[in-house]
């Protein structure tokens, strides 16, 4: 793959360009341009969806009202809120230069970022879920994918994080679910106010060292610039935003992944409503509403705290018909994934 790491600092750019610029670079790398480390900072807030995710997960009405554009990226992960408090990086290699196994590729391409965080004084680590964390808090949102014959991993330095807005842009049917998601977002997603210039320098050094490449500041080529125009149009189209065709959602339950191993779940069956937060497979908190539960509500909520997800139906069943109705609602969530 040659001996050069092309480094492109796109600087502050529009929300659209904060996506399409690095996608254009990825297509360039696929066509033979050198491995590329790029940086972008959106000049205005927006929302971005992972390749497969449903647009229905985003509160489009709120985003429209607030003037927040919504774009779909070609790499994975969920819907996220981005603003100028976040510096984004993208490392892109020819696919043949990355391990064929995606977990290995992810590890290889995230470990230099961990080293860069550490170099600027953040005690970061790559956890077993391949998330960059400080303790049990996620400090870098990442996504990855193969674009033609290039592998790209994206992430960010979160200098400031608007937890409230990051939760508000999500379409959540229940105020209780929104409140619990915000609570966990605040608990498990943290900003790291490192100096962005120092972080950027540390990133360049860490990736060049890890990949054994010589740093060469660069820009998009003419061909990549031409591709950028097409990408601008593609990413602005209704068809692209709609995403790949998917069958209707399997379950009526709404789940939100706050970070790996940390979820909120909201579900309803008839007039029974259940909101549960799950941390590492165990219920953290529960919020229940069901006709007939009456004075047992608090007892049922307390009984669920600390219970493995798989045991939730059995615990609820102790509370008679209302409990069974809540269990039926909860069955709408795929507990095996939580």
């Amino acid at each position: 793959m040659g001996d050069v790491l092309r480094v492109i600092d796109f600087g502050p750019v529009s929300p659209l360009r904060s996506q399409t610029l690095w996608h254009a670079a990825a297509y360039g790398v696929s066509e033979g341009e050198p491995p590329t480390l790029s940086f972008t900072r959106p000049s205005a807030p927006y929302v971005c969806l992972g390749y497969h995710r449903s647009l229905a997960e985003v509160d489009q009405e709120y985003c429209h009202r607030e003037g927040l554009p919504i774009y779909r990226r070609m790499v994975g992960g969920g819907p996220v809120y981005l603003d100028d408090g976040q510096l984004f990086f993208q490392i892109c290699l020819p696919a043949r230069a990355a391990p064929a196994l995606r977990q290995e590729a992810l590890r290889m391409l995230l470990e230099p970022a961990v080293a860069a965080f550490q170099a600027v004084g953040v005690p970061a680590a790559l956890d077993a879920d391949l998330e960059i964390c400080d303790g049990d808090r996620k400090i870098c949102g990442h996504g990855a994918g193969q674009i033609e014959d290039a592998v790209v991993v994206c992430g960010n330095l979160i200098q400031r994080f608007d937890h409230e807005r990051a939760t508000r842009v999500l379409a959540l049917p229940d105020p209780g679910l929104r409140a619990e998601t915000l609570r966990l977002m605040r608990r498990y997603v943290a900003a790291t106010p490192a100096d962005p210039q120092e972080f950027q320098a540390a990133m360049i050094s860490a990736y060049a060292t890890a990949l054994g490449l010589r740093v060469a500041p660069g820009q998009l080529t003419g061909a990549e610039r031409a591709g950028l125009t097409d990408l601008d149009a593609q990413f602005s189209s209704v068809q692209w935003l709609a995403g790949p065709e998917q069958p209707p959602a399997r379950t009526p339950a709404r789940t939100v992944k706050v970070r790996a191993g940390v979820w909120t779940v909201g579900a309803a069956s008839g007039d029974a409503r259940i909101v549960v937060s799950v941390v590492r497979g165990t219920v953290d908190r529960a919020w229940l509403r069901a006709a007939g539960l009456n004075g047992m509500t608090q007892a049922a909520e307390s009984a669920l705290a600390g219970v493995p997800v798989a045991a939730v139906p059995d615990v609820l069943a102790r509370f008679g018909d209302p409990g069974r109705q809540l269990a039926a609602a909860f069955a709408g969530a795929d507990g095996t994934r939580l």
């Binding site: 497969h52 994975g76 995606r102 391949l130 990855a144 994918g145 193969q146 065709e245 069958p247 399997r250």
Partner: protein
């Protein structure tokens, strides 16, 4: 479809009634004259991580051997599903799109991915592993390699 002949290879099921693309872990099973089902074997699935999402080319779309016929997302990594054969997509398994875990639970059965009409059955199938002994040796060697490198737990 004929009953599936499945053997156990060091804890992983291996179906011997179909052909395999060695690099991608895709299987191909003839489903009628000039037609085949495509799926992914358990090693391919295990080494992908927990499947989060699957998407495929729509029915009626042409596909080419060595080119993507869909996308698989695991661990927030979206990567191509590479077709072992050329032809036209006849059907997509909507059940596995709705529930990617189906491919993990039943990789040789209900977790199939797409059905295709083959445009070069003889040529494409000849390029795949088809002999039971050869398939077993390949699968065992891949598994040993994954375990040696820690990709799959011992």
């Amino acid at each position: 479809m004929a009953p599936t002949a499945i053997i156990d290879v060091q804890g992983f099921p291996l179906a011997l009634d179909r052909r395999y693309q060695a690099d991608t872990h895709m299987w191909v099973q003839l489903a009628g004259p000039g037609q085949a089902r495509i799926g992914m074997d358990p090693l391919g699935i295990e080494t992908s991580g927990t499947l989060a999402q699957l998407s495929f080319l729509a029915a009626g779309t042409e596909l080419a051997a060595g080119r993507p016929f869909g996308q698989l997302e695991a661990a927030k990594f979206v990567g191509p599903l590479v077709s072992p054969v050329s032809g036209t997509v006849l059907a997509v398994n909507d059940a596995v799109v709705a529930d990617p875990g189906l491919a993990e639970r039943d990789p040789y059965g209900a977790g199939w991915l797409v059905e295709v009409s083959l445009s070069d059955a003889d040529g494409d199938l000849a390029a795949l592993l088809g002999d039971a002994d050869e398939i077993t040796r390949w699968f065992a060697a891949r598994l040993a390699g994954y375990r040696l490198t820690g990709v799959i737990a011992q």
